[in-house]
Symmetry: C2
Subunit: 146 residues, 2 copies
DNA sequence: GTATATTTGTTGCAAACGTAACAATCCATT
DNA sequence: AATGGATTGTTACGTTTGCAACAAATATAC
């Protein structure tokens, strides 16, 4: 009595499923690295990395750029502010917005964490093989445009 | 006074970041579809799809296969059991494990939802273009092996 | 054969999450 | 300049999540 109800859908070949598994696996491993190093959560790491790259942004900017919910951003910003890794400067023209920048301490930690990120990606590229890595990258790039 | 602290890391070109954004976008859109159709949550959909494909599995099997935490699986199984979409059968040899299978009702809904999935993927392939879609798929496939 | 370790699945609990409501501010139309 | 609407960021609240502890059962070691 076979219990195989002739599968209509093969998850292993289903793109959303594949994408999710790959992203989850990578994200989890990478998160374990910077968590061990700094204790940052994922949203906090994202805010740090975004500010490290762009220098000065508002909370809305960060949310738009990293596709995070604004409450997530708000809480991550609070946490980083508590560490003195980030400071707020109110805009003189529009007093709703606050410009966020990393402090010297924040930049120092950003540099260390960015290095961890680059190392991680390099190992990933080696594990996957450069040609497949680039292929995957090209596919993902096409994705962002569509 | 430039506020650009020479970014060490370009998030847009960072593989884990790209993977996450793509996966999140796709997953969110697809989830909206089957949520509207059936009210299933993401973990519930995953359990349903996994059982629909493999017929009979234990909770641990499902967790391992779909990379979900065992508590997530446990709760999704409870929810599907509450809908009468799934039934448990205790193993006669090892009384810890329970074999999970879809009921007739569960299979009926699985078929409908699998069709939605295939439609979604077909549209995705059209949007992306077949060649890039396949390229992305090849990259993801390499991923799973490593 | 008993003690110890491992595995399977569930539950308590605290942390994290998103929705919605909110205060504060700015903009647009009049 | 005033009312209505939009935008920015925070907070309150109910839900979801994962870690840890757990009970039950099996496997392993002695």
């Amino acid at each position: 009595m076979a219990d195989e109800p002739d599968p209509l859908l093969s998850l292993e070949q289903f793109m959303p499923y594949r994408l999710n598994r790959a992203a989850e696996t990578v994200s989890r491993r990478f998160a374990a690295i910077y968590r061990r190093h700094s204790g940052l959560t994922r949203p906090e790491w994202r805010v740090l990395a975004t500010l490290g790259q762009y220098g000065c942004l508002t909370a809305t900017d960060i949310g738009r750029h990293s596709a995070m919910h604004k409450t997530k951003v708000s809480r991550a910003v609070q946490a980083l502010e508590g560490r003195r890794w980030l400071k707020r400067q109110s805009d003189s023209k529009d007093r709703r917005v606050e410009h966020l920048t990393l402090t010297a301490l924040g930049q120092k930690n950003y540099r260390a964490l960015a290095q961890l990120a680059l190392d991680f990606e390099r190992r990933l590229r080696e594990t996957l093989g450069p040609e497949l890595f680039d292929q995957l990258n090209a596919g993902l790039e096409a994705f962002e445009e569509a």
